[in-house]
């Protein structure tokens, strides 16, 4: 908004028109000058401008005392007012922006790091970890046997081939199991075992979108989601995931047992 009135008095403004043009002159003043130059009082305005210019010229001719001039020579007398880095950095707005950028950068870095070590099927595994966290035992069919024995059940009852439990977990006693189709993962076998209320998932491996091939991996790879951790292994085009509430170190003893 102009610092002049809402409806500026242009003739009044013209009476204090700048002697020489200056950058950043307000629009109202520019209009006032334009009107004064083109209006009925153009001659009077020109006279005023010439009068002001003559006085300004006289002002510029004011001699500067030699003793005072010494002050001008000392350029370091008044350092240029630069916003110092310290002050800029302590500005709340700058701090807020920096924090926001740090958070965004952190999330981005985390996501990049996460994807960097991802493996085919990691997204499906994470999705099933969320299933694990919300599963209640009542929705599984009660079944008390060794986990390794369920491979035959899955094949015979559900035509799920190669749904084998790895030897590390084959001897664990089960509490129940079920087979279900998820929106994104089809033919998922879920087993609940007694040991630490761990859950096993078997599901089809993700195919390479280019060639449709599946690359198995026999080492254990890990995924994490909301306090749950899954150890995943892929064989014969089928992924096996052992999931429990905890960290990677909680699963490690079971995986090392086989190595021994």
């Amino acid at each position: 908004m102009s610092f002049f009135q809402v409806r500026p008095n242009y003739s009044s403004l013209a009476r204090c028109a700048p002697i020489t043009e200056k950058p950043g002159t307000d629009r109202a003043m520019r209009v006032a000058i334009q009107r004064a130059r083109q209006g009925k009082k153009a001659a009077s305005f020109a006279q005023q401008q010439a009068f002001d210019a003559a006085i300004a010229k006289l002002v510029r001719a004011i001699p500067v005392d030699a003793q005072v001039a010494e002050w001008f020579a000392n350029e370091s007398l008044i350092p240029l007012v630069k916003r110092r880095w310290k002050k800029i950095l302590l500005n709340p707005v700058v701090i807020a922006i920096a924090l926001a950028m740090a958070v965004i950068g952190g999330v981005f870095a985390y996501r990049v790091h996460e994807r960097l070590y991802d493996f085919p099927g990691a997204d499906q595994a994470r999705r099933l970890l969320s299933v694990a966290s919300s599963t209640r035992s009542v929705i599984l069919d009660p079944l008390k046997t060794d986990a390794g024995a369920l491979s035959d059940l899955f094949f015979m009852k559900h035509r799920l081939e190669h749904y084998d439990i790895p030897p590390e977990f084959a001897e664990f006693r089960t509490l129940g199991s079920r087979v279900f189709d998820d929106d994104e993962v089809h033919g998922v076998a879920q087993i609940w075992v007694v040991e630490k209320r761990m859950q096993f998932f078997l599901f089809p491996a993700e195919k390479n979108p280019k060639g449709g091939s599946v690359t198995d991996f026999s080492d254990w790879r890990f995924v994490e989601l909301e306090g749950w951790t899954g150890a995943v292994q892929q064989r014969n085009g089928v992924c096996f995931m052992a999931a429990l509430r905890g960290r990677e170190k909680d699963l490690a003893p079971y995986l090392e047992k086989r190595k021994q």
Binding site: N9, C16, T20, A50, F51, A54, V59, I62, I78
Partner: protein, 159 residues
């Protein structure tokens, strides 16, 4: 925008117009610059060049109160003459400074700052803490009073 050595002569000229006396102008000028240097040393440098003129203004008014004072009274006014610029050419800067320094406040400050031709109107209003209409009236009446003074002291005879 900061003040540099380029702006300092203008600051001195302002002090001279305000006081009409070289010694007083020098005193006000040096006190202002010294204060700015002290602030800079305290890591609180003046924010902009307006600070210098604002500070110098009050110092000039303070030093002007010392010694002989101009009598307050109604000054005559005259229409701006086409020969006004030529009359002005015959003046010494000292005469102009004496005339400006005799004007009452805030007209004195308004005239001194306006004729420095250093500031935009926006900056002038900020410095003088007044509205555009007030500034216009002060400058306009000052101009007519100065013309009347010119007519009385520097007659110009057209050829």
């Amino acid at each position: 925008m900061s003040i540099t050595t380029k702006n300092l002569p203008q600051l001195y000229r302002f002090c001279f117009l305000m006081t009409g006396d070289a010694a007083k102008a020098q005193e006000a000028f040096q006190d202002t610059v010294r204060e700015a240097a002290l602030r800079s040393a305290r890591d609180e440098p003046p924010l902009d060049r307006l600070w210098f003129f604002r500070d110098a203004r009050w110092r000039c008014l303070a030093v002007s109160e010392q010694g002989i004072q101009a009598e307050a009274g109604m000054m005559e006014e005259a229409e701006i003459s086409p020969v006004g610029p030529m009359q002005i050419e015959q003046l010494d800067p000292d005469q102009l400074a004496v005339w400006v320094s005799a004007a009452p406040e805030p007209q004195r400050s308004a005239l001194a700052l306006f004729y420095l031709d250093e500031f935009s109107v926006r900056e002038l209003l900020a410095l003088l803490e007044m509205k555009a209409g007030e500034l216009s009236d002060l400058i306009s009446s000052g101009r007519r009073q100065f013309q009347a003074w010119l007519d009385a002291t520097t007659p110009h005879y057209e050829e």
